[in-house]
């Protein structure tokens, strides 16, 4: 029997489709048992804590918590297929009943969001380019640049410097135009295979093996399970183009696409 105190609280992992109260084992943060609090045919997956959470004692612990949260989300996705993941660190003060009445009030939003996201998953697509290859390509395709390039080394030191500078600026502009053209082209091809797509303005983490390359575009994509293969095919084609590399990660729980702002019950 859980000791319910003034301090007791629930750490939230996700909203899932299930009508069964169940204990999913010690998959939570600090090996806490994660269980479901059911309202009708949906449930909140939580762990219970007698005391309110405290700050992590050090960086190591904070990291472990982040990894544990992610692990629990993966396990919940495995079991329930579609879930609405909570951001790290969402804690509600109270007990099962509090959560249940909160779900009751927001049942329709949760249910419709679970339906909208069923049989989908989130994927991250990052496209990189090799600046050297692209610089060669724009030079090859641009006669004005070639002409300017040919003039360098012909004049005085001062004049060469100015020409070189002019060349650099124009080449950089040509690269920028090329990238924006390709970014749109890639974006469109990818978009056809997704249900929703978000252009990540803030660049996502770039793993070590892609260092030295530069980012063309980073997209979070909500993809229906039957379209994943097609999307992979499109990405293959981009990946085969000279100078371009694609990173394709997933499946992730739909972190970027859960949206309850629209009709959250107040």
């Amino acid at each position: 029997m859980k000791e319910i105190t003034q301090e007791s609280c629930l750490y939230l992992y996700s909203i899932v489709n299930t009508a069964a109260e169940q204990n999913l084992g010690p998959i939570g943060i600090n090996d806490n048992s994660v269980y479901t609090i059911v309202y009708r045919d949906i449930a909140a997956a939580v762990h219970f804590s007698e005391t309110k959470p405290k700050a992590a004692k050090d960086e190591q612990q904070a990291k472990e918590w982040i990894f544990s949260h992610n692990y629990a989300i993966d396990k919940l996705t495995e079991k329930f297929n579609t879930i609405l993941p909570f951001s790290f660190g969402c804690v509600a003060q109270g007990n099962d009943e509090t959560i249940r009445s909160w779900m009751q009030k927001n049942y329709d939003s949760f249910k419709s969001e679970l339906e909208r996201l069923s049989d989908t998953a989130e994927y991250l697509v990052q496209i990189f380019y090799d600046p050297k290859v692209l610089a060669e390509k724009v030079l090859k395709e641009n006669p004005d640049l070639q002409a300017l390039n040919a003039k360098i080394d012909g004049g005085s030191k001062g004049k060469n410097y100015i020409l070189k500078k002019q060349f650099d600026v124009r080449r950089d502009h040509a690269i920028m135009n090329e990238l924006s053209k390709l970014g749109t082209e890639f974006g469109n091809a990818i978009y056809e295979n997704t249900m929703e797509m978000i252009h990540e303005e803030k660049s996502f983490h770039v793993p070590e093996k892609y260092k030295g390359k530069k980012s063309v575009i980073t997209l979070s994509c909500l993809v229906s399970n039957r379209s994943v293969e097609n999307l992979g095919h499109v990405l293959d084609q981009i990946n085969q183009r000279e100078g371009f590399t694609v990173r394709f990660t997933g499946p992730w729980a739909p972190f970027s696409f859960v949206d309850l702002k629209r009709d959250f019950q107040t």
Binding site: P53, E59, W65, Q93, S101, F248
Partner: protein, 181 residues
């Protein structure tokens, strides 16, 4: 291509777990290397919060969160020894041909120029003054308007573009600091 989860890295998880997903307004008070993570969940469900408050879920947490945040609030970035701030301004920066401009506090010191995000106490980029090859003021089109930007070329062939008000003041100070190195 087949999507992979190549051994999830912490940074990758932070991108997703802290900035995305359903949120409530009270976060667990944790700290990664002294960096308060509270306040990072930006997408607050305004309506949802009210519901939670109505159920009495968060009042105490909310108070505690604020108290903790005030106590731990960080007002300036950590500088190197003998590093001195010469100029601090709010502006935006962009790397190379990227079209994305990120806004932050930009610091010019006697050692480097860097962008600092106050809420997560993170240095977003930095360029050591001794690695700067060239500084120019260029005219660029931004959101269909012409404006002046500072273009900084570094010895690894990268370009950093900086924009703010008072471009000329920043340019002069930057040139002066680079010359002192």
């Amino acid at each position: 291509m087949i999507p992979e989860r190549e051994g999830d890295s912490l940074v990758e998880l932070l991108d997703r777990l802290l900035n995305k997903g359903l949120v409530l307004n009270a976060d667990v008070l944790i700290s990664v290397g002294g960096i308060p993570l509270i306040g990072l969940s930006l997408r607050l469900l305004a309506a949802g919060i009210e519901t939670m408050l109505e159920y009495g879920l968060f009042e105490q947490f909310d108070k505690d969160t604020r108290a903790w945040e005030l106590e731990h609030r960080i007002n300036k970035p950590v500088l190197m020894s003998e590093e001195e701030v010469m100029l601090r301004f709010y502006g935006s920066y962009s790397h190379n041909q990227s079209k994305t401009w990120n806004y932050c506090f930009i610091y010019l010191t006697n050692r480097r120029i860097f962008g600092w995000n106050k809420s997560i106490n993170k240095i977003l980029y930095e360029v050591s003054l001794k690695n700067i090859l060239e500084i120019t003021v260029i005219t660029n089109i931004h959101e269909e308007k012409e404006r002046e930007e500072i273009c900084i070329k570094t010895n690894d062939d990268n370009f950093l573009y900086v924009h703010s008000q008072n471009i000329n003041e920043i340019y002069c100070k930057l040139i002066k600091e680079v010359h002192c190195i």
